[in-house]
């Protein structure tokens, strides 16, 4: 059933489709020196949500999943790209074929893009989309009673007739498992789970079609989390809602979503049906993320793939694949910069692991020429055989997991001027694009060349 929905994109209407959606936040900085820095929170995200479908967005903190969630509700305006709401699949197909900026494309954008809607259509869009925030302690107005909180969207959208608002509020709360004894309570009198129920009731007040759930259970205890998740499942099947479920908790996403999108450092790296992605994760990051989840069973011995380092600074994201500095399977063309390789190279030299290298590089001075080249000034003539020694050591070290960056070395030559400079040039980077692994399972990783789908070490 779900696979039909995904495969059968051609028919019917797509509830929401984003096209190369990006958001870069400007950092305050000195505009004279160095220019403004940008945090590239979301880069070229593209995904679709269909009616009565739950889409999971997973990733670690700071990977841009919340920003993406807010973009698709137009709580933020994008830097680039657009998002269409309720667009007929045929029109969408047509739009993709049109050159950007053409008149026809602009007409389609005017009609369906959530960032171009006129005032009237925008109101309609706001009715149809809602959000539930992570922290139920700060997302409810402490001055308002539960009744008023849930009635507020109804009043804002001029719900008619007014006399029925009260009855509607009671029904909404009833649906979310709160009886009428809660009507006059204030948020501080409620527990975390009850508050989150109020937030959900408020989101459902105008019968939206799409609700973004931004970490709805992260602030709750497991037993309360189970209650809320069961409630959300029930609402989905009763009301035919679509959810965008944002979470860092993979087990929760697996329980809730039909399709899952894995984000890393602002980019979607893997997408597909939940069962497929969870059973055979393809991207090394997804594999590592899944292996890191503690399983509540002391008898299972799982193999954890420990990632080195931390999430990159998004104002200077790594070039090529953003995961490459932490990736245990990185290839030479994953986007290594001369700087990264030079650091590993000199660590190798100074570690003393190869005494012959120590003899060659007594007082090396490194110079980064460009992204793909760096030079080492020797201060003397290169002796015979020294280049071969360096090449041999590099070749051997390429298999070593700690010096994986050396895989990017393409050739080691002596620069022409007087044979005193060794030049190391790197493999040109290849920015990964989505590869279809079958069953609508897409992964953006250079381990999967565009046509094939083989990858030896799949867990389980």
């Amino acid at each position: 059933m779900q696979s039909e929905v995904i495969e059968g994109k051609q028919e019917g209407t797509v509830l929401l489709q984003t096209i190369r959606l990006s958001k870069h936040f400007a950092l305050k900085g000195n505009k004279l020196i160095g220019g403004t820095k940008f945090i590239r929170a979301v880069d070229e995200a593209e995904f679709a949500i269909h009616e009565n479908q739950v889409v999971g967005l997973v990733g670690e903190s700071g990977c841009g999943k919340t920003t993406l969630g807010r973009l698709i509700l137009r709580l933020l305006d994008p830097t680039e790209g657009t998002a269409f709401f309720r667009i007929p699949a045929a029109t969408l197909e047509k739009y993709r074929g049109l050159p950007a900026g053409s008149k026809e494309a602009r007409d389609i954008e005017k009609e369906y893009s959530i960032f171009r809607l006129n005032k009237k259509k925008m109101r309609e869009f706001r009715k149809n989309t809602q959000i539930v925030f992570q922290d139920p302690f700060s997302s409810l107005d402490p001055h308002m009673s539960v009744k008023d909180i849930v009635a507020e969207p109804l009043k804002a959208h001029h719900f008619n007739p007014k006399s029925e608002i009260e009855g509607k509020v009671e029904r909404l709360l009833e649906n979310c498992g709160l009886g009428e004894q809660f009507l006059d309570k204030l948020p501080h009198e409620l527990s975390g789970g009850q508050r989150q129920r109020v937030a959900i009731a408020r989101a459902l007040a105008m019968s939206p079609r799409l609700v973004v759930l931004d970490e709805p259970t992260s602030a709750l205890d497991v037993s309360v989390q189970a209650q809320i998740l069961n409630l959300l499942k029930k609402l989905k099947s009763d009301l035919g809602l679509s959810f965008v479920f944002i979470s860092h908790h993979l087990a929760v996403v697996r329980q809730m979503s039909d399709e899952v999108f894995v984000m890393y450092a602002g980019q979607i790296v893997e997408k597909g049906q939940t069962e497929v992605v969870f059973n055979s994760p393809a991207h090394p990051y997804t594999v590592a993320l899944m292996s890191a989840i503690p399983i509540p069973d002391p008898t299972t011995q799982r193999e954890i793939i420990l990632l080195k380092g931390e999430i990159p600074d998004l104002s200077r994201p790594p070039s090529g694949c953003r995961f490459h500095p932490r990736c245990p399977h990185a290839l030479g063309n994953c986007g290594w910069s001369a700087e990264e390789v030079a650091v590993v190279f000199f660590e190798l030299v100074s570690s003393g692991q190869y005494p012959e290298m120590n003899d060659i590089f007594l007082r090396p001075v490194q110079k980064i020429i460009n992204e793909q080249t760096f030079e080492i000034e020797m201060g003397r003539k290169i002796r015979e055989g020294e280049l071969d020694t360096v090449k041999r050591v590099l070749e051997r070290e390429k298999e070593n997991p700690t010096s994986i960056a050396l895989r990017a070395v393409k050739e080691v030559t002596s620069a022409t001027d007087g044979n005193t400079v060794i030049r190391v040039s790197l493999v040109p980077p290849l920015v990964p694009t989505f590869t279809n692994l079958g069953k609508s399972h897409f992964v953006a990783c250079n381990l999967y060349p565009a046509s094939s789908g083989s990858y030896g070490e799949k867990p389980e």
Partner: protein, 471 residues
């Protein structure tokens, strides 16, 4: 310090408990009434063991651990109970210090400030030295205006003065012959770390062994680099500073002239600076032990410059600085991402094994508990409801609350139609239900549950507090 040392040797025999908490009761006085946060909680920790305490928000698991460190907030009172650490009852004087005086308009808390000061001075010698703590939020628990290096040094300068002095003296006493012996031992790859340690121990120079060990156990260096560092170990201490160092080494405190040295800042700088520098060296070693990258820079950085995972590593380095017997880890990974969490858990596990430190691990995440603990106690609404070996608890949970808690965890490896539920919510601890506190939500509750259930041992080491298992 005397408090612990006197009893260290005679009481801690084989199979003895390191920490033994007996029927602890902690209450908090609030405007709405007295909150019974912890009631009748007992647990033991053996040396080198990891005990987990698991429960939901507000169940009192953190308060039980805080009481061990005597860090209970001002409004909290340890009403009852014993906290035996290495044969000393840390809660012995509670009746003297805190008094609940009943007045017309309710209860008023009174404390004897003199007694409190006495207790504080005792606890300062225990905190960090014998018991240390890793907190949940490393941003709020690290000092924002001090560099990481200084914060770790602080622990060493408070508790480990003799060790620092010994290290400096040792570098002067070690002879070139000894260095040669160590070098040969490390270079001939056959000899294990234990053999190297044995060799150094035979030299009989205190403070030398740990320096050699910290060099030889580093994984990021090649043997050649290690030998280079070993060679550089020998450093003559200046003749004027030796008496000072010997005094510190023997007495564990600074000479009087230095303690009252505010009038002699130059003297203070000259001698204390030496110890401070050595403390920085040890801090660097500690940071390398917890796998911190780029140590030289991190030592000079402030906590806000570090990422969450690195802050937690610094926190752990601080906790192990004085080789404590017990580390209390209060949700150490809850604020971290899963991939970083996996790194930190692996680190804690490694340290536990190498240092043979006992860990009291507090968490709400059953997955983390299953991974790291030997035994687990489940706390509900201030009561310890079940205690068992970790395998027993997960394969055969007995208490209805434990069962409910385990069934509510979303499984990772498969999709299930709906999760298990515990109906209702946690009761208010101001007026908790009489008897079993879980009975208002328990599907098996009977009349009998209005009486306090006994602690029943169903099998070796598996205790449950529930009437279902009485006869």
């Amino acid at each position: 310090m005397h408090l612990i040392q006197e009893t260290e040797h005679n009481r801690l025999g084989n199979g003895a408990k390191l920490l033994s908490v007996r029927s602890l009761r902690i209450s908090f006085v609030t405007r709405r009434g007295i909150v019974q946060a912890v009631d009748d909680v007992s647990f033991d920790i053996e040396p080198g063991e990891t005990l987990g305490l698991v429960g939901e928000t507000g169940c009192g698991k953190t308060q039980a651990a805080m009481a061990v460190m005597r860090l209970t907030a001002e409004t909290g009172i340890i009403e009852k109970g014993e906290i035996w650490f290495k044969g000393v009852n840390l809660a012995e004087n509670i009746s003297k210090e805190f008094k609940l005086v009943k007045k017309k308009r309710g209860s008023v808390l009174k404390r004897d400030s003199a007694e409190l000061r006495k207790l504080e001075s005792q606890m300062v010698m225990i905190r960090g030295k014998h018991i240390s703590m890793v907190f949940q939020e490393p941003m709020t628990s690290l000092n924002p205006v001090r560099t990481v290096g200084r914060q770790i040094s602080e622990v060493l300068l408070t508790h480990e003065l003799p060790r620092l002095a010994d290290r400096i003296i040792a570098r002067g006493r070690v002879t070139p012959d000894m260095i040669g012996g160590i070098e040969r031992s490390i270079a001939s790859r056959k000899s294990t770390a234990e053999q190297v340690r044995e060799l150094v121990r035979n030299f009989g120079i205190p403070g030398l062994g740990e320096q050699v060990a910290s060099i030889s156990s580093r994984r990021d260096l090649s043997d050649a680099k290690k030998l280079q560092l070993i060679k550089g170990l020998r450093q003559e201490a200046s003749r004027t500073s030796l008496p000072f160092l010997r005094y510190v080494s023997a007495n564990g405190k600074l000479p009087i002239i230095h303690r009252a040295s505010s009038r002699l800042p130059l003297v203070r700088r000259r001698f204390l600076g030496m110890l401070e520098k050595e403390a920085m060296n040890v801090s660097a070693e500690l940071l390398s032990q917890v796998g911190m990258p780029n140590i030289a820079a991190v030592l000079r950085q402030y906590p806000h410059e570090l990422s969450g995972g690195m802050r937690q590593r610094a926190m752990i380095a601080m906790a192990i600085a004085a080789n404590p017997e017990l580390i209390i880890a209060d949700e150490p990974t809850s604020a971290l991402d899963v991939t970083i969490q996996a790194q930190i858990l692996r680190l804690l596990d490694d340290l536990k094994r190498t240092l043979n430190t006992a860990v009291l691990f507090i968490s709400h995440d059953m997955g983390v508990i299953a991974e790291i603990c030997d035994r687990v106690g489940v706390i509900y609404a201030g009561n310890l409801v079940e205690m068992a070996r970790v395998e027993d608890l997960f394969s055969n949970p007995l208490h209805p609350y434990t069962k409910g808690l385990l069934s509510a965890i979303p499984p990772f490896d498969r999709k299930i139609p709906s999760l298990g539920l515990i109906p209702g919510s946690v009761p208010s601890l101001i007026n908790p239900p009489e008897g079993c506190r879980f009975r208002t939500r328990c599907p098996f509750a009977t009349e009998r549950c209005k009486q306090t259930p006994p602690s029943i041992q169903t099998k070796e080491g598996h205790f449950v507090r529930c009437w279902l298992y009485a006869e």
